[in-house]
Amino acid sequence: MDKENTNIIEMRHIVKDFDGFKANNDINLTLRKGEILALLGENGAGKSTLMRILSGLLQPTSGEIFVKGQKVTIDGPIAAQKLGIGMVHQHFMLADAFTVLENIILGHETTKGLQLDLKKARQDLLALSQHYGLAIEPDAKVANITVAQQQRVEILKVLYRGADILIFDEPTAVLTPQEITEFIKIIKNLAAEGKSIILITHKLKEIKASANRVAVIRHGQSIGTVNVAEANDEELAEMMVGRHVNFKLQKKQAALGKDVLQVKDLHVKEDRGAEAVKGLSFKVRQGEILGIAGIDGNGQDELVEALTGLRKVESGKIIIKDKDMTNEKVRKITEWGVSHVPADRQKYGLILQLPLYENLALQTYYQKPYSNHGIMNFKAIRKHAKELIQKFDVRTSSDALKASELSGGNQQKAIIARELDRNSDLIVVFQPTRGLDVGAIEYIHKQLLAQRDAGKAILLVSYELDEIMQLSDRILVLHNGQESGEVRPDDTTEKELGLLMTGINRKEGAESAR
């Protein structure tokens, strides 16, 4: 019991001010030795900022940090390392062109004479990897290994530096349900070895499955710390969001109409020339949402790009509203009645440096009344932009604000406004709520359901199982560019979906797993 109550880290009254914006505003946090502490909060609540302060990447504006009872200043990653603190970042901090080994030793190299001693480093690494059961290939290029393997590299990187306090920033966002189970086993094992762990997350299920205590922060402030065993989901969600949260969406019976999208034996290659979509066939009908589930990198990008004309189709057919649209130009597909909400809103969805009104006209600027014989009519463009801002509740001080100045949720609303406004029959949405807060997620989900009820055909591609389960009428699971199964949300489980996502079909049974 004594061990349980030793505070290995105490952060007191931490404030972090970014030019007048307080990302952390008087946060207190304690971590006990050997425990798993979950840090719960919405996107933008200040979790990452707090942990970056703890790992020396940011300096607090004010506040104190105690490690093992000693007051410390953590003025850089090296100082954090010396205190035994290591962080596994959400966006992996790996150089793609380097090998696993090079990535792990970087900044902590062993040398023999003037030269790197890769032999010894490799031995040390393999010993560590065996001890913790984290299998890796030291000489593989990071660009060529899976996301789960990259995460193991990140964990080993921290352990290689002798950390006994490990911080994980949203570690499960990129993993399959099975990989998540595996991951939880790994961190429990680490905690049993005496490591203390902070787990940043907004997923209540994982907290239940792994953590001892949970600290909740909201709008940069500490809300409270509770023992996981004594808390229930509703309470935690309310602490996180600050109001009552409705977990279930109201969904009407689907009223199906004609086929809008037909995909037949589609083959698409990825950038490096390997086949990414391997003979996919499916249909989407009026008034339904077809969810495409799967782990990131199983052909989703290529599928969406092929459907919207951004990527060449090698063979097969894409038929939209009875017309063959295979390998047509983007604009022709758009004009034929396809709306596309891209996965990466800042890279594909918006031109961040341009004003909001020009972004809202990005698909229509060349048409009347927005332009005439190649001359733009900004009056018409701005009038229409103002209408869209009103109708879709985009929160902005002006239609002339640069897109970069909007919050993520409002950027996404602007894209949704632009795409839904065109009244297309087929709506392709890819990761529509990534990184958004609960309010924006609710809003976007409602908009999509309204479109479905209005008779549109919607193809929803998402890595978030919850989102797929809540919105879809049918779910097609993608694995390795192929369909590994089609299920209905009412008669499937997350476990079954997880197995399908790794390519194991329930009919084939577990023994035929490849």
């Binding site: 970014f18 030019d19 007048g20 914006f21 990302a23 996107n43 933008g44 200040g46 979790k47 990452s48 900022t49 959400q90 966006h91 920033d169 949203e170 919207t308 004309g309 951004l310 130009k329 983007v330 604009r331 758009t334 596309h340 891209p342 990466d344 809103r345 800042q346 890279k347 594909y348 969805g349 918006l350 031109i351 961040l352 440096q353 341009l354 020009e358 990005l362 698909q363 600027y365 060349y366 332009s371 190649g374 001359i375 733009m376 640069k402 970069s404 100045e405 909007l406 919050s407 993520g408 949720g409 950027q411 990534r434 990184g435 958004l436 807060d437 924006a440």
Partner: protein, 367 residues
């Protein structure tokens, strides 16, 4: 100091210019030249007489064209460092055509020689555009290489291909009489300087450039592709088309700069041993002018005052002419580090961008 973002856009180049002059002054002081004498003799000779003013305007004319050329490519996201080659191609082509058709009526000759020069510049730049569009070849390297290809090819063409009847020596062509852009009344008005009708064309070009970039769908597409090629492609714009169109336009304006040199300033073509100077000077003008039509106009005039005045400074004050180029380079340096200059001023409104960058719920939100 708190200023609005718009005022900042104006203050940055002004501070860059002042700082550039100061750098020049320091260098002169280090070598015991008198900077005050230098700068006053500079302004005196550039603006103190009608001839000086005429020469300054004449100097600015081709720079306006090459600067517009640079700026159009730059808006599309390309660094067209091949302006010298494009200008040189326009120069040789227009002079050659004019000399070969001295009997053509001038109302026909003038538009034709201009078109020929513009097309020549566009073709040279177009090569880089096509290679970039279809093979992804880095346009910076290609345009640098094309500068040398044009440099040597022009020399060969003039010495070996051009009829010797059009030349007075292996190093120079005859003078263009019919089809020259110099006109009597203008020449007389500005004290027999080499000022020519090109300046009126340059002003028209600035208006066209402004209209193109601000009011047309073509300009909107060029700008969009330059700012975010991925989103532009998503929105159905053709990246390939825009790359090629912007490079063709860029080269066309650069070629026009060469036409002005050939038919306005020198009225002939002579062997060039290094890249023609209006190329890199035009780039400097565009960088200082910060992409706006008015900015380009003012920057071209400023650099011309420096360059024309520099000649006077050399004769009157005995200070090496190179100080002018040093000042210009220093000004561009300060434009390049505008981030530091901007630190001197605070925005009137709180920085919303940075706030969303760190908190916001966007992609980088939690990073």
């Amino acid at each position: 100091m708190r200023v609005s973002p718009k005022a900042k856009n104006i203050l940055v180049p002004i501070i860059a210019v002042i700082a550039g002059f100061l750098v020049g002054a320091v260098i002169m002081l280090l070598w015991s030249y008198d900077p005050i004498e230098a700068y006053s003799s500079m302004f005196q000779s550039a603006l103190g007489s009608m001839n000086g003013v005429g020469e300054t305007i004449r100097e600015a004319t081709p720079l306006i064209f090459t600067a517009i050329g640079f700026q159009i490519a730059s808006a599309a996201g390309f660094f067209n460092i091949g302006l010298p080659g494009q200008a040189q191609a326009g120069w040789l082509a227009s002079v050659w055509f004019a000399l070969a058709n001295q009997n053509m009526p001038s109302y026909l000759l003038v538009p034709l020689e201009i078109i020929i020069g513009v097309v020549a510049g566009a073709v040279v730049a177009g090569i880089a555009g096509v290679l970039r569009a279809y093979f992804g070849t880095n346009e910076v390297i290609v345009t640098i290489m094309l500068n040398y290809v044009v440099l040597y090819s022009c020399q060969y063409l003039m010495q070996q291909t051009m009829s010797s009847k059009l030349r007075i020596s292996t190093d120079s062509t005859k003078t263009v009489v019919n089809g020259s852009l110099q006109v009597g009344w203008l020449t007389k008005m500005f004290g027999y300087s080499r000022i020519n009708t090109g300046i009126f064309m340059a002003i028209i070009a600035l208006v066209i450039f402004w209209f193109l970039m601000k009011k047309t769908t073509t300009g909107f597409e060029i700008k969009s592709v330059g700012l975010n090629p991925f989103a532009s492609r998503y929105a159905g714009m053709s990246a390939k088309k825009n790359i090629i169109v912007s490079m063709l336009l860029s080269g066309a304006f650069a070629g026009m700069g060469g036409v002005i040199q050939g038919l306005g300033t020198y009225q002939n073509y002579f062997t060039q041993t290094a890249s023609v100077d209006i190329g890199f000077d035009g780039m400097s003008v565009a960088l200082l002018g910060a992409g706006s039509a008015l900015g380009i106009f003012l920057a071209a005039l400023l650099f011309s005052i420096l360059k024309i005045g520099g000649l006077g400074m050399q004769t009157l004050a005995g200070i090496p002419y190179e100080i002018v180029s040093i000042v210009i380079a220093a000004i561009i340096f300060f434009v390049g580090i505008k981030y530091v200059i901007e630190l001197l001023f605070k925005n009137k409104t709180p920085q919303t961008i940075e706030a969303t960058g760190t908190t916001g719920t966007g992609k980088e939100g939690e990073a």
